[in-house]
Amino acid sequence: MSSPLQVHGIRKRLGRTQVLAGVDLTVERGEVVVIMGSSGSGKTTLLRCMNLLETPDEGRVSICGYTVDCHGRSRGRQHRRGVQRARQRTGMVFQQFNLFPHLTALGNVIEGACHARNLPREQATRLGERLLDRVGLADKRDEHPARLSGGQKQRVAIARALAMEPEIVLFDEPTSALDPELHNEVLGVIRELAADGMTMVIVTHETQFAHDVADRIVFMDGGVIVEQSAPETFFTQPTHARARSFLRLVEHQVVAPLPRAPHPAELHQPERA
């Protein structure tokens, strides 16, 4: 079978900035690709180009059997249909969750199944309940997003992406909007998906998680991929200078064990000479 995702030579300019300056990437079935890079390196834009939320100025995107050659012109109905069909087999998880606030947790999960994939409601509901259970939120099925914690919202969002029964799931910094103590409940769910062989592309700053879950790390800088390698190689012997400096900046925060936090009482000890 062909790869679920292939991008070739994509370039994208936003305003005056060349955000993507020619990116090639192929994701194989069952593969977990983690995209890293400092902010402004183009990783989120690349992810959004993959399911055509952003249209590249140039290049070719092939996702879930739909291929489009981009050259900056607007396109007609046939293109829209093609994009829609491809997206119906793609899941996307956003940094800001983007849950539908007027629907319950279950309503959010089955919305796409019912109204994009046109599954019968009963079948969608069974699927939705199973997925909520899978992300550990079966008891929240009738709650609205306003009554969920950030971590719970993101888990509902993951269940919503899975309800597309996707060939590939795209994650755009899934923990960046969460308090640190909520990261693990979300990362845990993604780890399980990886273990189940789900094809995923994940933009994240979580080095430990990336190290554990990725089959391949893609490091971006200045709108191009400057390095890609297996996580062991990437984290121990990065070749590119920018990758080395990036890792120096983030690694000490996450991969190394944290120093013991001082007890609040210690902070208020009067200093004595």
């Binding site: 997206r87 793609t90 996307m92 956003f94 983007n98 606030p101 796409g112 109204h115 994009a116 994939r117």
Partner: protein
């Protein structure tokens, strides 16, 4: 009090006409206003232009001029409307201009991420609008739309100039026949206030119901 009991049938007739003008033109104006709002946020440039022109004309000229033009002006080109139809037409066109802006505000108030989430699932444009954006937009727009409804209720008083026997005209006629203008206008003013108090209460109830899903 005797003034009220004597003129009660007339007041009730005026009330009925005022409510008819206000409610019908609000409903029709909402439908037209929604279409104009959709045109205004559309990607089709011609539709956007037409919507902008419409709002500019009907929001930029006095309602009284619009009523007079329809009732006295249109017969010149062979279109003769009775007073009530003229008033409803003018109020509808006028209200639609304002309501379209209220609706547009509601649509723009929905986070762009909502569109993106629906798009990322391959949901078509109109279904996204109907199922995701509209229910949120209507909640955002409700306070402004409620105010517009109340303003429209008061604007119906201008229909008195084209001989519609609504509340304001009833007040004038009670005053002129009894010379008790003070009581007549005070009485009718109170009736307007009561109508609008009920509308305000209705608006609060609606806001509370629509806000339920958002309560933490």
């Amino acid at each position: 009090m005797d003034l009220l009991s004597e003129s009660l049938p007339l007041v009730l007739q005026g009330l009925a006409n005022t409510l008819l003008l206000g409610v019908v033109s609000f409903v029709l104006g909402s439908v037209l206003g929604a279409l104009i709002a959709l045109a205004r946020v559309s990607t089709v440039r011609v539709l956007r232009g037409m919507a902008i022109a419409y709002v500019s004309v009907f929001r930029g000229t006095p309602l009284l001029i619009q009523i007079l033009l329809i009732y006295f002006g249109l017969p010149q080109v062979g279109i003769q409307l009775d007073p009530i139809s003229s008033a409803i037409l003018a109020l509808t066109l006028f209200a639609a201009a304002y309501l379209s802006e209220n609706f547009r505000g509601g649509i723009l108030g929905v986070d762009i991420g909502q569109w993106e989430a629906a798009n990322s699932m391959g949901m078509p444009y109109w279904r996204t609008f109907r199922r995701i954006v509209f229910p949120q937009a209507i909640r955002i727009a409700t306070p402004a739309v409620g105010s517009r409804f109340i303003a429209l209720m008061k604007d119906t008083s201008l229909a008195s100039v084209v001989t519609v026997v609504e509340l304001t005209r009833v007040a004038e006629s009670i005053g002129s026949s009894t010379f008790r203008y003070m009581e007549a206008f005070f009485l009718i003013g109170t009736v307007y206030w009561l109508i609008n108090t009920l509308l305000s209460i209705g608006q609060s109830v609606l806001e509370r119901r629509m806000g339920r899903a958002y309560a933490t």
